[in-house]
């Protein structure tokens, strides 16, 4: 935990000048320095802090996860980086170019959350249009559109208007749109939503392919198993701030230790006092033992073998990414005034 805190603080260090070159002499894929966004209601003038002093660096070739509860500021952050929302504080650079300029979006792909595309265009027309907007020649855009539609199993629907597509199919077209030009940097906002398990696996493979060709992928997701499978580093946002940042190993290495042991055997299992804290529950034909501390794992295994139990599996206990996100969200929640009744409480709303 201590390491995580240091890591988050290191990330939170504010840059005030253009980002220096990183690995390979190239600027980092994404640099945000003290980025902030406060929305002001045009009539009531009430302000709402969506992102607050966010600083992060995403190196080239990484798969970087943006996590956090709803309203944590993930989408707002992505939109600020893409110039769709103007930051009220701080600066950011994409591939070394300051955000907000069309040049910063060169070599960048983006899949928005719950994408909605021009529904009177066919899938092919839309992808050709998208490719041309990215600077491809018409012929090249057509070739790439056909290749991507083939790749994503939509070749037979290439000439179908997008309004007739299911949500999952629109999501696939959206991914093709994001990856059409083989961009150096890809932003994916909730890419797995609306996908069946097969689609999710396909998307994961495509994201991994991006890394193989040297591209950087930044994605936000609530589907944490996917994040654990894919990401090199993650940043957990809560209340518009960076709550945790670092590699998965850094974030998940906790003080929990211990292991989960599955055993098979006859008769009841009685544990001696020296194994106090070890608990067990039946799981089908087996028993699942939870060993709370690393120091108890060896004595517990020895005892089990001595009593004639067979070891089926030993799984080290790690903190889950879910617990990291939940913990960050809990910490970011504004403290309740002790005297205030729950009805009087007004939750702080934050834009997502």
């Amino acid at each position: 935990m201590k390491g995580n805190g240091q890591s988050a603080r290191r990330e939170a260090k504010v840059r005030t000048s253009r980002p220096e070159s990183g690995r390979d002499g190239l600027a980092a894929a994404v640099v945000a320095a003290g980025l902030g966004k406060t929305f002001r209601h045009p009539w009531t003038l009430r302000t709402k802090v969506a992102v607050d002093a966010l600083s992060l660096t995403v190196e080239r070739g990484e798969i970087f996860g943006l996590l956090g509860p709803n309203g944590a500021g993930k989408t707002t952050t992505l939109k600020m980086l893409l110039g769709l929302i103007r930051p009220t504080a701080g600066q950011a650079w994409l591939l070394g170019r300051p955000v907000g300029t069309p040049a910063s979006r060169r070599d960048v792909g983006y899949l928005p959350e719950n994408p909605y595309f021009f529904d009177r265009l066919t899938a092919r027309e839309f992808l050709v249009f998208s490719g041309q907007l990215a600077g491809l020649a018409a012929g090249d855009a057509r070739t790439r559109a056909d290749a991507w539609l083939e790749r994503l199993g939509l070749a037979d629907r290439a000439r179908t208007p997008l309004r007739k597509f299911s949500k999952g199919m629109v999501q696939r077209v959206g991914l093709a749109h994001a990856l059409l030009t083989d961009p150096e940097l890809v932003f994916l906002d909730e890419p797995m939503s609306g996908l069946d398990p097969l689609g999710r696996r396909e998307f994961r493979d495509l994201i991994l392919e991006c890394r193989e060709r040297g591209a950087t992928v930044v994605f936000s997701s609530h589907i944490l198993p996917d994040v654990e499978l894919l990401c090199d580093r993650v940043c957990v946002l809560a209340g518009g701030r960076v709550a945790r940042a670092g590699s998965l190993d850094e974030l998940l290495a906790g003080d929990e230790g211990g292991a989960e042991v599955v055993v098979r055997g006859e008769g009841p299992l009685l544990l001696p006092p020296r194994l106090a804290g070890v608990s067990h529950v039946p799981r089908g034909q087996h028993l699942l033992l939870t060993v709370p501390h690393a120091a108890l794992v060896d004595p517990a295994l020895a005892h089990l073998l001595e009593k004639g139990f067979s070891i089926v599996s030993v799984t080290p206990r790690r903190r889950s990414l879910e617990s990291v996100v939940v913990e960050a969200a809990e910490q970011a929640r504004p403290e309740r005034p002790a005297a205030a009744a729950p009805r009087a409480e007004r939750p702080r709303r934050r834009a997502g």
Partner: protein, 253 residues
């Protein structure tokens, strides 16, 4: 890039079922002008041309106010604008593309009904009248240029209903600019300057009116055509520049 966005917009408008309905309505108006001819007591051919020109102008106006006035707002509402602006495209380029695509779609609408009207005029009033009707159709098409720019400006700032309303109001006032200036002269300062300034800010749609020439089957002076084209281009440029400045401040949540 502008051409790509204009092409996409043009396709979107022409695939809108509403556009097809409006086009059908335009042809009904043209047909009605022929059906009403026997009631015109010898003025039949003139009625045909008058009503026909009104149909071309009215249809274009309907496309601008019904389809065009919601064009940008709908893209913001449906978030399709994110798809375009997340590409290396500036907001000004996006707006210019939308305006050009809309103008092209309105011109296409006017051209379809205009060609039908010219053919009918050629049949009932002869070549000279057909030439002046062709010129009147071109002027009508040119009058859509400032109107589409205004529709894009309002659409980028307001809801489709309000945008339609604003565009319609300015269209109506656009035929009164000369009268406004005359009336302003009778007023005291500062009302006089304000009204005069407003009359110049409004689109001067009288410049595109060739009804008189058409009534007498005379050719429209080329100077008038040139001035109208130049005015349309300058007015639309100013409006789109204003729209770009306003659009640049928008947030796309």
């Amino acid at each position: 890039m502008i051409a790509v966005i204009a092409g996409g917009t043009f396709r979107e408008v022409l695939r809108d079922r509403l556009w097809l309905v409006l086009l059908g309505f335009g042809f009904v108006l043209l047909a009605a002008s022929r059906i009403l001819t026997p009631l015109a007591l010898g003025e039949g051919p003139r009625i045909t041309v008058d009503l026909g020109l009104s149909a071309v102008g009215g249809l274009g106006l309907l496309v601008v106010t019904v389809v065009g006035a919601g064009l940008v707002h709908q893209e913001i509402d449906r978030r399709t604008v994110h798809v375009v602006l997340a590409r290396p495209v500036s907001r000004a380029t996006y707006l210019i593309g939308k305006w050009m695509g809309l103008t092209l779609a309105v011109w296409t609408t006017g051209a379809i009904t205009g060609v039908a009207l010219i053919a009918v005029t050629l049949a009932v009033r002869g070549t000279a009248a057909a030439v002046s009707v062709t010129q009147a159709v071109v002027l009508t098409e040119l009058s859509f240029v400032p109107l589409t720019a205004l529709a894009v400006l309002f659409s980028s700032l307001s809801t489709p209903i309000l945008s339609s309303l604003y565009t319609l109001c300015l269209y109506a006032l656009g035929f009164w600019t000369a009268d406004m200036r005359s009336f302003a002269k009778t007023l005291a300062s500062p009302l006089r300057e304000t009204l005069t300034g407003a009359s110049y800010a409004l689109p001067n749609l009288d410049l595109f009116n060739a009804r008189l020439a058409v009534a007498h089957a005379e050719a429209v002076p080329l100077v008038q055509m040139g001035v109208a084209a130049l005015y349309a281009a300058c007015y639309a440029t100013a409006v789109i520049a204003l729209a770009a400045v306003a659009f640049d401040r928008r947030e796309f949540k």
